[in-house]
Symmetry: C2
Subunit: 314 residues, 2 copies
Amino acid sequence: MLKIGIDAMGGDYAPEAVIKGALLALPELARDSVVVLFGDEKAIRDTLAQENADVSNFRIVHTTEVIEMGDHPAHAFVKKSDSSISVGFRHLQENLIDGFASAGSTGAMMVGSMQIAKQIEGIIRPAISANIATLNGKSFLLLDVGLNVDTKPDVLYQYAVIGNAYAQTVMKIREPRVALLSIGEEKEKGNIATRAAYELMDEGKAFNFVGNIESKQIFTGEQADVVVCDGFVGNVILKEAEGFYEIAKAQGVKNEYIDKLNYEIVGGTPVLGINHVVVVGHGCSSPLAIKNMILQTEKTIRGGLVEKLREIFN
Amino acid sequence: MLKIGIDAMGGDYAPEAVIKGALLALPELARDSVVVLFGDEKAIRDTLAQENADVSNFRIVHTTEVIEMGDHPAHAFVKKSDSSISVGFRHLQENLIDGFASAGSTGAMMVGSMQIAKQIEGIIRPAISANIATLNGKSFLLLDVGLNVDTKPDVLYQYAVIGNAYAQTVMKIREPRVALLSIGEEKEKGNIATRAAYELMDEGKAFNFVGNIESKQIFTGEQADVVVCDGFVGNVILKEAEGFYEIAKAQGVKNEYIDKLNYEIVGGTPVLGINHVVVVGHGCSSPLAIKNMILQTEKTIRGGLVEKLREIFN
């Protein structure tokens, strides 16, 4: 039995959006997967009843507190020890669940990721990533999208190794094309960190390094399956894509591809390089976003990413 | 008489696209503006004849060489001393023209900008910028878009001052809203350089600093007229916008706003912070792009940007 822990209290529209999302995910989950909801049991049961849903489809872990967006993440994680996020991470630590996802406080999720799940030995800095749809009907993994800024070349190199492992285990690509985001295709283009990272990646031969890629090219899917960058840059890229989706929507543009840039479809960003599967959702997640976050969590667990990364780095 | 120097040999489709662009620009230029074409006189005259255009509308400065895309910019700038770009910069230096624009070798244009036009005293590093259309029917200035990477906080601060001056003199905005690009609106969000730059901008009171802006927000026009960032980041933003335009086009999306993200409409990127008006166009400029590059050059000259910057920094 594979147990997917979900924070029922996380996100701007919780618990309703979370419960609805879990119900949407249910038919697409494997038979031996179960969603474990962390949160106020009464609220969860009431919402399930409203949706005429069978409570026996889920397991519920009752928690009495919620880490709010305004809370200081590190303080709240400790002080609100019976919050859905804190309890979720304890369950993860004790292997009572196989993965944990929340659209609640990103800060608290990161505290749990770094202090409870902890980085895998040998990994300098974990990363957060985004799976973004490409024009060829597939997707690419962008990392880091905001966990680390001022990233050093050796960390960028490790992101490439981590991204490569993710693409192999979760995206099921045998030989992922790994690219370094820069401002020109030539190896001498870029800033200090990317130019040094290029050398490391080119020498490493640890993955199929396809060289530099420009931001103009990432969405075609023609050049890369994994795109590595500093977290400041990755966050800028991700938010610009979100911005374009919103522009297109506001302008009444109807296009299947552009719709896929909607963060709701993306679901969540997995925290990569830690000892457990943790997925962080968007604060304003809709039921569809929650559904995709749950499916992504299941996929990451089943892919065996954590085990693979331990194998590589230990 | 205001003299706008244009490299007739610059760009992938020169001289045809340049001549056609100059002809498109002609009716929109002020009566006392004249376009001075630098290039092979025969080729220019032949192209004008093909277009049934009156050669007396232009001045021609005959040059015998062309700096090619494959040439080493710094070497070629000196060796090909009779190239359209080298001769153009000499004319600029001797005040025989009031501005110079080219869609040719960006490298050679930058060599001319830095070695001939030279930076204005007091400016640490000049920048290149892009004027990008916003949803509210206006535009914002993004700088730097690729001249400097690994930008220090004091340079980012100067970009804000330069951008503010550009917005006032060329975009004719009385009190431009100047923002710093970051990955969150809170002042403590960002990387080392942006957090330090935030402090400088906030203390400086030299312009209307509106704080951090995220890449998602820049296209709305609701928050900022000038957006300051490191050149690596700015280049990534610009190329992502170009990428989206191309995606939309490839997907058959017809939308007036998205069409404005076409680099052809943008025209060229002015080099800001040097002692002359220099505008660099896209290598694959169409006649429309050239037309807009010419109009932008005229506008930058008329605005008195160089004089304004000298006043501020000297």
